[in-house]
Structure formats: C-alpha cells, structure tokens
Amino acid sequence: MTMAPAAPVRTDEPPSVAPVRRSRFRRHLPAWLFLAPALLLFAVFKFVPMFRAVEMSFHEVRPYLGDRFVGLDNYREVLTNPSFTDAIGHTIVLAVGQTVGSLVLGFALALLLEGSSRGLWFVRTAVFLPTVAAMAVVAELWRILYYPAGDGAINSILGWVGVGPSQFLNDAGSSLWSVMGVGIWRGAPYDMMIFLAGLAGVDRTLYEAAAADGAGPLRRLWHVTIPALRPVLTILLTLAAIRGLRVFTEIFLLTNGGPNGASEVVMTLVYKLGLERNELGIASAGSVLLLLATVVLTVAVQVARRRGEQR
C-alpha cells in the first residue's frame, strides 16, 4: 500500500507513525480550508465579543487610561441600582407575557386554521405577514395605530365598544403592555406556523379512535393533540423566551424606555449606558447576565423535556 500524500484513499491502519502525521494533516486540510471562512467570522464576530463582554464586565473600562479591575462591582451595580432592577423586572414581565401570549394565541390560530383547503392556505399566509415584516416597520406602524387621541385607529375601535381613549405608549401604566401587544401580534403567527407543522404530524387514527371511544373535541385536544405537540412546545418555549429576553428594537422605537422608565428593558438600558454614557463595564455586566439567563433557560427547558420523555 503506497501513501501518496493527497490520495483520497481512506486507510484505517496506516503503516508507520511519521508519515501518518503528515498524511493525516494533508488528508484533513481540505476540510479545514472549507471551514476557514466560517470559523474566522464566528471567531471575530461572535466569540471575541463574547469574551470581551465577560472581560469588560469585571473592569472599569477607561479608554486611553487602561482598564481597572473592579471584581464584581459592575454586577453589584446592575443588581442593586433601581433603574437596572426595574429594567430587569420589565424584561421578565415582557418576556413572560410575550411568550405566553404568542403561544396561546398561536395555538388557537393553528387549531382554527388547520386544514388543507386552498382558502385556508390563503388565510394562513395573510395571518403570517406580520412576522415577515421588518420590526422597524411594524414599530412605526403601531405608533400610528396607537395614536393616543380619540380618533387614533385603535382608540376608534375601542370607542365602538364604549371604552374610553387610551394613552397606550404615552402612559406609564400602559406602555409596557402596549409594547407586549405588538410583540404578541408579531410573534403569534410564527408560533402558529410551527404548531401547524406539529399538528400535521399527529396520527389521524388517534383522533378517530378517541372519537370512537366517545371523546368530544375538547377531550381529544387535551389527551391526543397536546401530548403529541410536546416536543414542538418545548422548542417554541425556548425560542420565544430568548426572543423575549433580547427585546430591543420594539422598545427602542415604540417608547425608548419611557415614559419615565416605565418600559425600560435591560437591552435598552445597556444600549444607553454603553453607547451614550460610555459605562462599558456596567453595560457588559448587564449583557453577561442576560446571556446567562438565556443559557440557563435553554438548558432548563431541555432538561425538562428529557425528563418528560423518560416518564
């Protein structure tokens, strides 16, 4: 057996050690070359920023003067400063509200729009459009819809059912909920599509068997449909929760945290601290905490799923 350097022959038992190392490197070189652009971009734009975020979160970042190590001070600041703790609270409320809202509404939509007729396909497409639209467009559109006077679009509709004009984004009591509404409006159709894909995989004979046993639609839903959708549900839960934690654009464009910080979330605060007030260390600590929350959430959902499957 000859070992031509670039021969694509796969040998399981190479004859001696020295040529092996060389040929192994040569053999795997093409793979690494094909990977090189991706590895380079991921390293520079994903992993370097991640390491810098962790590094900066332990430092007081001072341009030109050199960074000063401050231990956990930045984290202490983030967890005790009222503007940050408020923002953390708003982030959690928004993430939970948007996640639950879009899941429930998305599931309802999927049930109502399940089927294979052409008309339904059209309705599904029309319902899905908000998810395709760029967030910036959606935000500007809803600013107009939420116009706080009595003749604003949503207020006019509220007027038909006799509910007084709401200030929506301009009022501290309603701004966060108004943003949440936009998030659900845009998120529910996405969840609907994933649920529809899950529903398509449910064994039809189970429905028929359940019906033959005398189960009505509600009991079929509870005992057949929802258990079959469990894997889809875990994935949607993770995706939606991450989506909720990282919320930035809609807050930035709809309220910019206002009025009076009533809708400030961690990401908008991090943006303001980092880019407007140059508090890079504290901003990084906020980012790292958000990142940890994301990881913990993802892992927790996966563990819960494993356990659910074992049962």
Binding site: A38, A134, M135, P189, G274
Partner: protein, 293 residues
C-alpha cells in the same frame, strides 16, 4: 388509508369537516375575515394610506380617498432612495457572503470526517443561543478595531455586511441537507479525478438548490430585519439603511406622516414580496429549523 368505519373522518384536531353546513360555513368565513383583518389589516392600511393624500396624522385608512404619488416624491426628497440603495447593498452582499460561508462550511461538516468535527459543530450550534443584541456593546468595539486586521468598520456599509456572514442557522440547514446526498455520487466523481473543489462546485452544490432557496429566503428576511447592527455601525445618515431611517423621518417635524408611510411601505415590500414568492421554501426552513431543533 382512511378508516370510515369509526364514523366521520377526523382530519383536524378540532374535527372540523371539509363540508360544513351553511351556518357553520358562514360562521367560519366570518372568523377568517376577522383574523385576516387583525393580522394583515394594519399592513394593508399602510399600503393604501401611503398612496393617499395624508393630512390627518392620526389615522390610517383602508379606503383610498384619491391616489397620489406625492408621499413618494416627498420621501425621495428626503433621500429615501439612498437609504433603499444602502439596504439593498447590505442585504445583497451580506446574503451572498452568508451563503458562500455557510455552503462551504456545510460541505466540510456534512461530507468530511476529521478530528474536531464534533467540537466545531458544537461551537457553531452554541451561537444559536447567543442573541446578537446581547453582544452589541463589545461587538461595536470589535467593529471599531477588527482583530488582526486593525481596520475600523464603523461608518462603513462593510461593517453591516461582514458580521452577517456568520449565521449558524443556514450552516445547520445546509449541513442537514448535504448529509442526504448519496456518497456514490461523490465517489464516482473522485474516481474521475475530481478534487474537493470540483466535487463541491459541480456535484454537491447543484443538488442543494432547494436548500439554497431556504437559506436564501431566511437570510434575506433576517438581514433586512437587522436593526441593532446598522444602528451600531452607521455614523451618520449617509450609511442609514431604510429601517434605520424610519426613525429619523418620523421625528422630522417638517415632513408629514405621508413621508414616513411611503418609506415604511418601501421597507416592508421587499421582505413581504420575497416571502410570497418563496413561500414553500420558507415553510420548509421554518419547520426544519424548529422541529429538528
């Protein structure tokens, strides 16, 4: 195989039959009309209002009261064409880079076995958990002084293009797809003396056309939707993408709502049209990305 012996066939979870009675049919049509109105009504209102004479800043309209292109003319006066061009440059170059990078990485991950394969896969997968907004602050520092090259990408369109090349979703979709290609094809080409590059280009890639459609449409909507990255990179209005410019157009007191509507419509249409044209691919990507996880 339908089992008709157990009574009615149940095609859906709710058990709604394909042929409802007249009342049930009417009720269902009404329900669907409401759903369409709630979800695409606002977008249709944007479309109609952008072509209407806008004097009333509070209200979008669904019924056109006369067609006019005035809003678009005013928007062009406000440099909207430049923002649009910026957006197209960013999405065009960014998407091309993303596809090239993903396809090339996927070829190695799907068709090669080498030590470190698992680790590379894990690293790429882990970035799916790494939302780009969260890393915005350090990313802006990296962009101001790119490691090794020491160039400053702030204030350049390149700063919005290069980072979108790294997107784990398209690498994963592409890898899954390439794994399905039978090894015999590749071996036959190898016997004919083709090298890796040639096999990649003339054997594997042509077979990947459906998957290219998937990552193309997803990459397009994702890059078009980008907000944080252009916000970090743009130094002044000369580099604004259209979504970024909307905020400035809105806060410009001298122009009315009509300009914002026209610009918003222009920012809305490309992604919606791309979605409508490539719906099937979009749905395939949605399910392969989410269900397989």
């Amino acid at each position: 195989m339908s089992r008709r012996n157990a009574g009615a066939r149940l095609d859906t979870a709710l058990g709604w039959g394909a042929a409802p009675g007249p009342v049930a049919f009417a009720a269902r049509v009404l329900l669907y009309l409401v759903l369409v109105a709630v979800f695409s009504g606002p977008l249709i209102a944007l479309l109609v209002s952008a072509f209407g004479p806008v004097t009333d800043p509070t209200r979008l309209t669904l019924i056109p009261r006369g067609l006019t292109l005035d809003n678009f003319a005013a928007a062009i006066d406000r440099d909207v064409l430049r923002y649009l061009a910026n957006s197209f440059i960013v999405v065009g170059c960014g998407l091309l880079l993303q596809i090239l990078v993903s396809v090339s990485a996927a070829y190695a991950l799907a068709r090669k076995r080498f030590p470190g394969l698992q680790l590379v896969m894990l690293l790429i997968l882990s970035t799916l958990m790494l939302p780009e907004e969260i890393l915005a602050i350090p990313l802006s520092l990296v962009l101001a002084d790119v490691p090794i090259l020491h160039v400053n990408l702030i204030g350049t369109l390149a700063g919005m293009i290069v980072p979108v090349g790294a997107w784990a979703f398209s690498i994963l979709v592409m890898t899954e797809f390439m794994k399905e290609i039978p090894a015999e094809l590749e071996e036959a080409a190898r016997l004919d003396g083709a090298g890796d590059l040639r096999i990649f280009w003339s054997v594997v890639l042509p077979l990947c056309r459906p998957a290219l459609g998937v990552i193309g449409i997803f990459g397009f909507t994702m890059i078009w939707d980008q907000y944080m990255l252009p916000l970090l990179v743009a130094d002044d209005a000369a580099q604004f993408t259209l979504p970024l410019a909307l905020r400035t157009l809105r806060s410009d007191d001298q122009v009315g709502l009509g300009v914002l509507l026209a610009a918003a419509l222009l920012a809305l249409l490309p992604s919606v049209l791309a979605f409508l044209a490539l719906q099937r691919q979009f749905m395939r990507g949605l399910t392969s990305g989410a269900i397989k996880g």
